[in-house]
């Protein structure tokens, strides 16, 4: 009993951070709600949402939310898929012998993370321009893949490098060929890394208007650029409503990511027990 009373609980140390979070994280989120649900006259209103879902009679309603959102989902899905298709083999090779011990090579793949991403985009765009590639959808996709590659590679590599190799050996010993072993053992076990890699890339693309702005054309955009221009033209309510919708999507994706991770981690553990 006496010992317990002496236990040191300096929870006060978290108070400055809690205050900062309350003022600069929670309050701004609430302000997005306030501006989203506030009409021109300052009272509660759904007019911002009516505009982005139903249009205003002049512009097509789909131009406000549905089309930018579909475009964003499209470019995010395509770039993430391509990035995964390149990153997975690289991570697989890096985690295999004899590359496992060559940490310098693994390091080479992540060095670009420390160079300002806008400068990397500058370098990439310079080369693509010289090669005669025009600004547009595919240039933006290449930009996304180039920019997010290390973030996709790292989680997959970490999972593969830390994987218990005895599962693979057991599968081989039991007569499965390498392809079957990969599909039935390695790939399922690396799912948490894949999910984490996808989540490091998919959602951030929603805000990556720096890439679509410099490498895309008039038809290439992400929802982030719509929000940016709404605020840029002082349409705070409109921008806040779009931000609110994006916030809901983020919450859903986070929930989905957690759900999938839990399921993919449950499967092998269940098998063990």
């Amino acid at each position: 009993m006496k010992r317990k009373a002496k236990v040191f609980r300096p929870t006060v140390f978290a108070f400055p951070y809690l205050a900062v979070t309350l003022v600069f994280v929670i309050v701004p989120l609430l302000l997005i709600l306030v501006y989203a649900f506030r009409g021109q006259d300052g009272n509660f209103s759904l007019e911002n949402f009516r505009l982005i879902f139903c249009g205003d009679g002049v512009n097509d309603a789909k131009d406000f939310l549905v089309r930018p959102l579909l475009k964003t989902l499209g470019i995010a899905a395509v770039s993430t898929a391509i990035c995964l298709l390149i990153a997975y083999p690289v991570a697989y090779v890096l985690s295999s012998q004899p590359f496992r011990k060559m940490t310098v090579i693994a390091l080479l793949f992540v060095v670009p993370m420390w160079i300002n991403f806008m400068l990397r985009i500058f370098a990439l765009k310079s080369i693509l321009d010289t090669l005669g590639m025009e600004n547009g959808y595919w240039m933006a996709v290449i930009g996304m893949v180039y920019d997010f590659f290390p973030y996709m590679l790292l989680p997959i590599y970490t999972v593969l490098a830390n994987m218990d190799k005895s599962y693979v050996e057991a599968s081989r010993d039991l007569g499965a060929n390498p392809v079957r072993t990969f599909c039935k053992v390695t790939l399922p076990l690396s799912l948490p890394g894949i999910i984490s890699g996808i989540s490091m890339m998919f959602m951030p693309i929603f805000s990556s208007y720096a890439i679509t702005g410099t490498m895309g054309d008039n038809h290439t955009s992400v929802i982030g650029s719509e929000i940016y221009s709404a605020f840029h033209y002082y349409e705070y309510g409109h921008g806040a409503a779009l931000s609110f919708v994006l916030l809901i999507i983020v919450l859903f994706v986070v929930w989905l990511g957690n759900f999938l991770t839990r399921r993919s981690q449950k499967a092998p553990k269940g098998g063990k027990a």
């Binding site: 040191f8 300096p10 929870t11 140390f13 978290a14 400055p16 951070y17 809690l18 900062v20 979070t21 600069f24 994280v25 929670i26 701004p28 989120l29 997005i32 390149i86 690289v90 090779v93 004899p98 590359f99 080479l108 793949f109 060095v111 670009p112 993370m113 420390w114 160079i115 300002n116 991403f117 806008m118 400068l119 990397r120 985009i121 500058f122 370098a123 990439l124 310079s126 080369i127 321009d129 010289t130 090669l131 180039y146 959602m203 951030p204 805000s207 208007y209 720096a210 702005g213 410099t214 929802i223 982030g224 929000i227 940016y228 605020f231 705070y236 931000s243 994006l246 916030l247 983020v250």
Partner: protein, 273 residues
């Protein structure tokens, strides 16, 4: 037969790594090479050797200011984030489980949220205070530092927390049993053990701040404060100023020296043990 097939397999794996590394580094290397060239396009006919881009870089007030701003915002916000994040991690570590998970969730908000939504929240914070509460406030250099601190602090917590969990709690209790006050035990026993994690946290916060584009581009309204990211973005949209080649080369060199230095120091430390 088996030997040749394994040799072919090894060659294929080397080919995958080298091809991807080539794609990653070719643009960067081309920028470095052409930073000494009079050629208008990077990758075109080389033209003559010149150091003119460097001379113009050191005369380009706007670019030098952007570089200075980037570094000041990075160092100051990373320092604040390290202080705030470390104290927060200590506080959170000693919280009861329920409170701790609530605070952990709150600290993840800016990490998982779409960057553009976080940026717009910050933006509305100032707009709301200025227009609705009528506080004489505006976007400023200090505001950029605050926003960068807020978005990078969670990463410091994520870096310091695991280290805290590894610490031996008996050491702290021993210090207190031997008569050291709470504060003294904390500063002389706990903090020295956290120093490594704090340095990693600082480095992470610093690089995240350097790389930021979205929050800065939304919150530098009316201030004219540019950072490397926003400067290069504008440069790319309006046609490239060639000084960016010189800047890229310098930054690439600095990153390389820092990484090699860090790894050599780490290797030396390891061999001493």
């Amino acid at each position: 037969m088996n030997k040749t097939s394994s040799r072919v397999y090894l060659a294929i794996r080397w080919a995958i790594l080298v091809t991807v590394l080539l794609f990653i580094y070719l643009p960067l290397i081309m920028v470095i090479v052409y930073s000494f060239s009079t050629s208008k396009s990077i990758g075109g006919a080389f033209g003559d050797f010149t150091t003119g881009h460097y001379a113009r870089f050191f005369e380009n007030e706007a670019l030098l200011t952007a570089l200075k701003n980037t570094l000041i915002i990075g160092v100051v916000s990373a320092t604040l984030a390290t202080l705030l994040g470390t104290t927060a991690a200590i506080g959170i570590h000693y919280m009861k489980r329920k409170l701790r998970s609530a605070v952990d969730t709150a600290s993840q908000i800016t990490v998982v949220n779409a960057e553009i939504v976080t940026a717009m929240g910050f933006f509305l914070f100032i707009i709301f205070l200025r227009d609705t509460v009528q506080v004489p406030i505006s976007f400023s250099f200090a505001w950029l530092i605050i926003t960068h601190t807020v978005i990078t602090t969670p990463y410091v917590i994520l870096t310091v927390s695991p280290r805290l969990k590894q610490l031996n709690p008996n050491l702290l209790e021993a210090a207190m049993d031997l008569g050291a006050g709470k504060m003294r035990s904390l500063f002389t026993v706990m903090l020295p053990q956290l120093a490594g994690a704090m340095v990693s946290g600082f480095a992470l916060a610093f690089t995240l701040s350097l790389d930021d584009f979205v929050v800065t581009s939304v919150n530098n309204l009316d201030t004219g404060v540019t950072t490397i990211s926003t400067y290069v973005y504008d440069g790319l949209k309006r046609g490239f100023p060639n000084e960016i080649r010189a800047l890229s080369t310098i930054i690439f060199a600095v990153v390389l020296v820092a990484l090699v230095g860090y790894n050599v120091a780490k290797a030396k430390k390891g061999s001493k043990k």
